[in-house]
Symmetry: C2
Subunit: 314 residues, 2 copies
């Protein structure tokens, strides 16, 4: 097989997923192995082994590897490839790029997990072929990534694309966010936010079928809403409302051609997407809506591997 | 005199201002002449004459002119240099770039007035030497420009940086904006918005010294606030509040090092800037505040000429 190949590494606390992509971001092969908890040096040696193994097991030669990328949850110096803190991995001050480059003799890049998932979708997922895309990942929190001209936009200090921490909830209904501020999008539009609103509704005695459920999940809320439970529908609409308003703001700042929404919460489908689109339309100047669409992500859990592989595209 | 020079044109409905800048964005010389209302062809011929004249009257040679830029209020196709509609100039479908390049034999670029003012401040004004800057122009409306790596960021369809049309006012207090949407920043933080809130206060009988003034201006409101008029102070704080919240959002999207605020309203000084800074601090995650400042513009009315000259920087 000819052509360059790119290796992506999705570093989770329990397992490490590795994937091979071709020059078009097509995922050719994957491998998954344990992360281990024997310290960063041992984990990085293991990653290097996994990377060599996936290439050895493929129809490609090591020489064809154009670069290796890794998506990591945590705070990092992206240009230096240095992880300052990853609570997930239990790492502090780990020179990932330098260490892996020494072990593998190939260019290594790292970025945070939300940016990497955004790049994956932009490269060969729901944003393929579109230069400017904003991606949301709706999970425990609200992650985000801004892709400009096919590249992750980092901003001055790597804080660009922290969509979950856009403070857009009005004071009257704002609550504290884990980030230390108030009114962040994440407080209402993440799974955690949806569950909180559901528990609040039950506790205050709202008439809702959710009161029959122990340990309410975000999926329970969407299911109840689909069955016509009014309290659940209000919660879903509130989560969608602030997503739509955040996109209306992004439309006149980033002015992307497309918004991509992924993550577990996005699986709710039309009941979430319809009100998002309606609110976006209501609050965005017409000229900034033209040709802009809001679509579900395509790559699912693979977005992280694909995007990590794409970090070394030049 | 050696070195390249750049010519900037600020096209107003009544007068055209032309300026010469050196390679560092220093304004060397200016000239102002009437726009005329004899049609776009005649006006463009006049502009070409003004450009030749300012260079001829300077210690520079025509050969040193590296490019000519023009800032225009209106809708345009920026890459094509084509003005679709400028109500201000009474123009529709005018090929400015093509026409001026034919007349002058030099590269010509155009952009909208708010973007051009932002570029001027970023080049040699309050944002000099800083790669990523967001500039607000608070006048009749709220204009804006986003500078990334020293260049105007346009977005997919030229709608990026329309800061006045970030819809961030909550529904309960939102009003319609001229753009057709609701809750835009411009409805509260422009001179027009401030005057509207002042007139509302007078009409509803609030106890305020503004009730003694005929034709209230934004400056009247700031002056009254400085003198301790509570209704005026509430209005100023409201204008500042939404500016601060819009910057908190931009801090996690664009993640600039600096916000620059210019335009007539910005002359109010600390009474406006202090609450903006306070609100920004309150609603922005700490990591996105680090090293970020909010400062007044420096170039005043010259920002437009300087930024227009800077459009041809490569």
């Amino acid at each position: 097989m000819s052509g360059k190949i790119y290796v992506g590494v999705d570093m989770g606390g329990t397992n490490i997923k590795v994937g091979l992509c071709d020059e078009n971001g097509q995922l050719l092969q994957t491998f998954e192995g344990p992360t281990g908890s024997d310290g960063s040096e041992a984990v990085l040696t293991r990653i290097a082994d996994y990377v060599r193994k996936i290439v050895a097991d493929s129809p490609y030669e090591w020489e064809q590897v154009a670069g290796i990328g890794a998506g990591i949850a945590g705070f990092m110096d992206i240009p230096e490839g240095f992880v300052k803190l990853s609570p997930n991995l239990g790492w502090r001050n780990v020179p990932v790029k330098k260490t892996l480059e020494a072990k593998l003799g190939k260019p290594v890049s790292i970025d945070n997990d939300a940016n990497v998932a955004a790049l994956g979708e932009a490269w060969s997922g729901a944003g393929a072929g579109i230069p400017n895309v904003v991606c949301y990942t709706l999970g425990t929190g609200v992650g985000g990534g801004i892709i400009i001209n096919g590249k992750i936009y980092q901003g001055s200090t790597g804080m660009a694309g922290e969509l979950g921490h856009m403070s857009i909830v009005p004071d009257l209904e704002a609550i504290n966010c884990g980030c230390g501020q108030v009114g962040c999008l994440e407080t209402v539009s993440s799974a955690t936010g949806i569950i909180r609103m559901a528990n609040d509704a039950v506790v205050r005695g709202d008439k809702t079928t959710l009161s029959l459920i122990e340990n309410i999940t975000a999926k329970d809320v969407f299911d109840a809403a689909k069955s016509g439970d009014e309290a659940s529908l209000r919660i879903v609409n509130r989560a969608a409302y602030y997503l739509g308003r955040s996109m209306a703001v992004l439309a006149v700042i980033v002015n992307p051609q497309r918004f991509v929404i992924g993550g577990g919460v996005s699986k709710a489908g039309d009941i979430l997407f319809d009100p998002i689109r309606e609110i976006f339309k209501k609050y965005t100047p017409e000229a900034a809506q033209e040709g802009v669409d809001i679509v579900p992500a395509k790559l699912g859990n693979d977005a992280g591997i694909v995007g990590a592989a794409g970090l070394n595209l030049r």
